[in-house]
């Protein structure tokens, strides 16, 4: 009989359309950042659909935050690795 309600992916698209004027007035590099954020919202469409909230935008915001958080952790780990390596290099330098 076909779905009656919009799917979460459609809701993300609607939200993108609603922000299109906002996006137009952003600088190119900021537009790219915005696109990445909405892609994050769509990436978690399954969780958004499963939650089935009547106000989906806040669900999209949380999805964007999740991707941000993952990114932060990934960068932290990289920093730790680099720091350890630097420490290692400097101690080795002293030793030799």
């Amino acid at each position: 009989m076909g779905r009656t309600l919009a799917t979460f992916t459609q809701l993300v698209q609607q939200e993108i359309d609603l922000w299109s004027r906002y996006r137009r007035a952003l600088r190119r590099e900021d537009q790219q950042a915005l696109d990445v954020l909405f892609a994050a919202a769509r990436h978690h469409a399954s969780a958004g659909a499963y939650l089935a909230r009547e106000t989906p935008f806040e669900v999209m915001l949380l999805s964007m935050l999740i991707e941000q958080q993952k990114h932060v952790v990934m960068l932290q780990q990289k920093v730790i690795i680099l720091e350890t390596r630097m420490l290692h290099d400097s101690t080795q330098g002293v030793a030799s």
Binding site: M1, G2, T4, L5, A6, L11, E54, T55, P56, F57
Partner: protein, 236 residues
């Protein structure tokens, strides 16, 4: 977010001569009430017809009644219902969306036999169950245009539905019938809209224009027009 929409709702509404502001309603829902698309006053059948945006307008009317604390029955014949619009309108009115959503009771019909059964049998008992007085029929004719159902049968079913609606209108039930115009392939069935119009106590036509949505009502002492400005509508 809610703040932005609240502001949007406060745009004024203009009459067709463009000058006089009709009583500057506080927001769209109030405008709808004023245009009697949604009304708590006169009972009976009101027909709202026009392009597919009528469905959104019909849902606004449902939300308006639900916000007023009334249970609403929503009969979906065209497979359209947008709970997210309900959510936005509720927030703009500073009411918990879930509360409004719980006040609206939906049933979908996917065939004309289901639609007619819904109106003739299920609706009267649902009105009692939910103690409701307000019904939105969204696309009651859509299923009747199905060419798999022969025209004489569709006509018979339409009559049964129209009769039941008439009966309920006489009982003081508020019935808002929201319908698009008949598709070009509908042949003799295109008469159904006209028949509903003849039966309705009020018939309001929706037209979309550059500047906004015009609601127009013939009959009465003089034709009346209202407008919903485009910027407001687009933000709905």
């Amino acid at each position: 977010m809610a703040q932005v929409q609240q502001q949007a709702m406060e745009l004024p509404f203009y009459t067709d001569d463009g000058s006089a502001v009709i009583e500057a309603p506080r927001h769209l829902l109030a405008a709808l009430r004023r245009s009697a698309v949604s009304t708590d006053q006169p009972k009976g059948l009101v027909l709202l017809s026009g392009p597919p945006s009528v469905y959104r307008l019909g849902l606004c009317a449902a939300v308006d009644r639900a916000l007023a604390g009334e249970p609403v029955l929503y009969l979906a014949g065209a497979n359209v219902f947008d709970p997210f619009l309900v959510g936005r309108l509720a927030r703009a009115s500073r009411v918990a969306p879930a509360h409004v959503l719980q006040q609206i009771h939906v049933s979908r019909a996917f065939t004309c036999h289901q639609m007619v059964r819904l109106v003739t049998d299920c609706l009267p008992s649902a009105l009692r169950t939910y103690e409701a007085r307000c019904v939105i029929l969204a696309g009651p004719l859509d299923t009747l245009y199905d060419q798999l159902v022969p025209e004489p049968e569709a006509t018979r079913l339409f009559r049964a539905m129209a009769e039941a609606l008439q009966h309920m209108a006489e009982q003081g039930i508020q019935l808002l019938c929201v319908t698009t115009l008949a598709p070009s392939e509908s042949g003799g069935r295109s008469r159904f809209v006209a028949a509903l119009r003849a039966q309705a106590r009020r018939a309001i036509d929706l037209c979309e224009a550059e500047d906004g949505l015009w609601l127009q009502e013939e009959g009465g002492f003089e034709p009346r027009r209202w407008m919903i400005p485009r910027p407001l509508w687009n933000r709905l």
